[in-house]
């Protein structure tokens, strides 16, 4: 028992249960003291969940050092080199451990969210309701959206945490304790988010628009609270990334010698640092509306439901750039390695990340063309949205220029990179029809939008994410993922996904509305839907192959300690896996980062010990 309790994660979960119970007790007690009816499930559950997450953070040990500092005691960085595998199940300050923790959490969340999708996709395989009730369908569909979004945010944080200090030659992130805190906040947040299923679910979609969300079952409160907490986690993590990249760069690493991935991460962090507060605020306002009867979004009290949509989309549109910018950074990072050529137009690619981020702040209204927003706002939002194509086009141009006449090799990471480019192109080209007011009014709330969105997410995030896992797995473990299994994974997933998303757009154009549990048999969409369900299962099979591969390769994979991919990036110049404190000798940047194939060019030079 004691041994089990010494594992941080289990301790945290026990404390969370305790905290939830105490929270429910306190709130009921207060109600009794205030002479209100003792039991009100909604406020008790919300307060319990909030206190439970705080107790989790205490139990797991994420705030121990801060409590010590507040009590005036000395704190020191623990020496974690002898901890072995236990480091991964408790609080560790090492950015590499936190990165891998984030990565595992991200995969768990995406498997959960994916299984939700498979469930309701099976329901859609034929018309009529087969095995889900309407409420169950709505809950699964809504949670699929938000669980995947949190999973992606966590996955983005995984690679930012793991790679940025290695790429810029820092010993760790700027604020290691804050970093651990941010990760451990995501764990109770995910639990709270998923607990909404046990509390009646909710039927609002991932957007949670009022007034529907004001009337939904209590589950929606857990959804709002979970997302708010996860949002706080992303805020502190992005704060950390920004500070690290500003302050901890190696000598000679000027702005235009930063790896593109770091540029993308900076743009991403800039968005999530600022805009995330607004989704938190909008969700909390609905929570207050439900708990205290405040009428922000209730037209009967003079409130304005459109205000919610403005606040919500001010984050939620830039959020998609939060997902894709690091992914596009990974594509730009890996293409030159496998094309053995310099990255074409480095400076423009670097700037384009910030271009996308800045324009991304000005386009949120395109989600609201059909919502009753002021009419005159539609056209400016349309043009600003179309403008996003320009910096994105810069990236595509650079990728094509990099591939042109390169000596391309095709290991698994490169396959995923190329699939990412193709799928993101599909997603990008289907964007303008949604951005243009005239066509969007026809397309809005159809499966066309769903297809477009999944294309951008898979192209901009999922495929680059897998490319990154295959690419950096040797760095993390010292072993290589099996290439054959990797190719099976790829050839199961990529074609199936393209079929799936293309059919989504097709049925959307034929008139299938998004988010519905059933569709009209006379539309003749049953065959398409059945093929889509089959494609969905093929993707799941691919992911299963990947998971088996990861577990198998962790023990039995080919041992590789050297520069597997012949990369120029500093982390590959030292043996894998990385030692606890990264580089033994600091390095200096003396050349351009992506000058592959140019004779005599050097990027980093390790300083001799003085």
């Amino acid at each position: 028992m004691r041994k089990l309790y010494s594992i941080g994660l289990i301790r945290g979960l026990l404390w969370q249960i305790l905290g939830t119970a105490i929270g429910i007790g306190i709130l009921t007690g207060i109600r009794v003291l205030m002479r209100l009816p003792a039991w009100k499930a909604e406020s008790a559950v919300v307060f319990g969940a909030l206190l439970g997450s705080l107790f989790f953070l205490y139990g797991v040990g994420a705030v121990d050092d801060w409590i010590k500092v507040a009590a005036g005691k000395e704190v020191s960085e623990p020496d974690e080199s002898g901890w072995g595998r236990r480091r991964y199940f408790g609080v560790s300050y090492d950015h590499k451990v936190i990165g891998i923790q984030y990565l595992v959490l991200s995969l768990v969340l995406m498997v959960v969210g994916g299984s939700f999708a498979l469930t309701f996709r099976s329901e859609l395989a034929s018309t009529g309701l087969q095995f889900l009730t309407l409420m169950e369908y709505n809950t699964l569909m809504s949670l699929h959206g938000m669980v995947m979004i949190i999973g992606i945010l966590v996955g983005v944080a995984a690679f930012m945490n793991y790679l940025i200090p290695l790429m810029i030659g820092a010993r760790d992130m700027a604020f290691p304790r804050l970093n651990a805190f941010g990760f451990w906040l995501a764990v109770p947040a995910s639990i709270i988010l998923l607990s909404s299923m046990a509390l009646g679910g909710f039927d609002t979609g991932w957007t949670g628009y009022p007034p529907l969300s004001v009337r939904a079952p209590i589950g929606v409160q857990m959804f709002f609270l979970g997302v708010s907490l996860a949002g706080m986690g992303t805020i502190v993590s992005s704060l950390n990334v920004l500070t690290t990249a500003i302050r901890m760069r190696a000598d000679g690493m000027t702005g235009f010698r930063l790896p593109i991935f770091v540029w993308g991460s900076l743009a991403t962090s800039f968005i999530s640092l600022t805009a995330t507060q607004l989704i938190g605020l909008s969700f909390q306002m609905v929570m207050f509306e439900r708990l205290f009867g405040m009428g922000f979004f209730d037209p009967a009290k003079g409130g304005n439901p459109i205000l919610f949509q403005h606040l919500f989309w001010f984050y939620s549109h830039p959020a998609v750039y939060v997902f894709v910018l690091p992914g596009l950074g990974i594509i730009s990072e890996l293409l030159p390695v496998f094309a053995r050529k310099p990255l074409y137009g480095y400076k423009w690619v670097a700037i384009s990340s910030f271009g996308i981020a800045l324009i991304g702040f000005l386009v949120w209204g395109h989600h609201m063309f059909a919502s009753g927003m002021a009419q005159y706002l539609r056209v400016p939002f349309m043009y600003s949205t179309l403008l996003v194509a320009v910096p994105t086009g810069v990236k595509f141009f650079s990728w094509l220029g990099t591939l042109w006449r390169g000596k391309i090799v095709f290991p698994v990471p490169m396959l995923f990179v190329l699939a990412g480019i193709v799928v993101f192109l599909l997603g990008g080209l289907t964007g303008p029809p949604n951005a243009t007011v005239a066509t969007d009014l026809q397309l809005t709330d159809t499966y066309f939008i769903v297809g477009h969105f999944h294309d951008t997410m898979f192209g901009g995030y999922i495929f680059p994410f897998f490319a990154a896992i295959y690419f950096w797995f040797p760095k993390m473990t010292g072993r290589r993922l099996n290439e054959t299994l990797g190719k099976i994974h790829f050839w199961l997933m990529a074609p199936a996904f393209i079929v799936l998303s293309t059919l989504m757009m097709r049925i959307g154009l034929l008139g299938m509305r998004r988010r519905i549990a059933d569709y009209d048999p006379t539309l003749n969409l049953a065959v398409d839907n059945r093929v889509m369900t089959a494609a969905g299962f093929l993707i799941a099979l691919g992911i299963l192959v990947f998971i088996i591969n990861a577990f198998w390769s962790m023990r039995n994979g080919e041992i590789t300690t050297g520069n597997v991919w012949n990369s120029r990036s500093p982390e590959w110049q030292v043996p894998s896996p990385m030692p606890v404190h990264n580089y033994d000798k600091p390095f200096e940047v003396v050349g351009e980062p992506y000058d592959y194939g140019l004779p005599g060019s050097v990027y980093v030079k390790f300083k001799e010990a003085e």
């Binding site: 500070t243 507060q277 607004l278 205290f292 606040l311």
Partner: protein, 254 residues
């Protein structure tokens, strides 16, 4: 760079307080007489700039590093400052969102509140900001006694502010959060702000406790600086919330 003397730094703090007080009084007078919202919107910006420059030392962010060794105290201090300011930027978006909601939902109307109480709590918070600055300056010059006195006064004034808003205004307001929009906006804005005041007071209390145990010195007092800068930030937020809730526009129909 030559350091200004302690007394001149303290005098500067007092001058800034004077300027802020004049601006606040002007705000109040304008609201009672001509009530032009454009002027009432500009004055808080001026007040905020004064505080950013003189109390929160925004220029320290742009100082060159004296010591380029990553492990040195001064390098880490500058890193911490950037982290803190990034957090403040992030936090200001939540207050910005609240302001946008207020403008969207209430426009040129305002909740029916007790004017003199509003002016009173604003003054209290302003003076607490002055003492927070005084505490930080005292610590910079190693004057522990004055530091303890000033920080205790800051906390005391903070408690007074919370009593004024939560204890008096919340109880005496002629509406509840569910009555009407003005009530909803009033409670959510003051609630979010009071939560920040509360957390700021926790930081100040920790700093006070550790300060009494002589854990800070003239060279190393990052915790003091951070909690004081955060306190000023909370005050700046109130600069904007005060006219938005009490001064701008006509009374909302209830």
């Amino acid at each position: 760079m030559e350091h200004p003397s302690k007394s001149s730094t303290l005098r500067l703090g007092l001058l800034v307080l004077g300027a802020l007080a004049v601006l606040t009084a002007a705000e109040f007078a304008i609201a009672l007489t001509i009530n032009i919202w454009q002027i009432l919107a500009v004055i808080p910006i001026l007040k905020a700039l004064l505080v950013f420059y003189y109390y929160m030392h925004i220029t320290r962010l742009f100082e060159e590093d004296k010591d380029l060794n990553r492990e040195s105290f001064s390098y880490k201090l500058a890193t911490n400052r950037i982290g803190l300011w990034l957090f403040l930027i992030s936090d200001s978006f939540i207050f910005g969102g609240l302001m946008i909601s207020r403008i969207n939902l209430l426009g040129l109307t305002r909740p029916d509140l007790i004017q003199y109480l509003g002016l009173g709590v604003t003054t209290v918070l302003l003076i607490s900001s002055f003492f927070a600055n005084r505490a930080e300056v005292s610590m910079e010059y190693g004057d522990h006694k004055q530091f303890i006195r000033s920080i205790s006064l800051t906390i005391g004034l903070g408690i007074l502010f919370l009593i004024g808003v939560l204890g008096v205004e919340w109880r005496l307001a002629p509406f509840g959060p569910e009555t009407n929009l003005a009530g909803a906006i009033f409670y959510v804005m003051t609630g979010f702000h009071a939560f920040h005041v509360f957390t700021g007071m926790i930081f100040l209390l920790i700093v006070l406790r550790n300060g009494r145990r002589m854990l800070y010195s003239a060279e190393k007092h990052w915790a003091v600086e951070a909690s004081v800068v955060y306190w000023h930030f909370v005050d700046v937020v109130w600069f904007f919330f005060y006219p938005a809730l009490y001064l701008i526009g006509t009374l909302a129909q209830s």
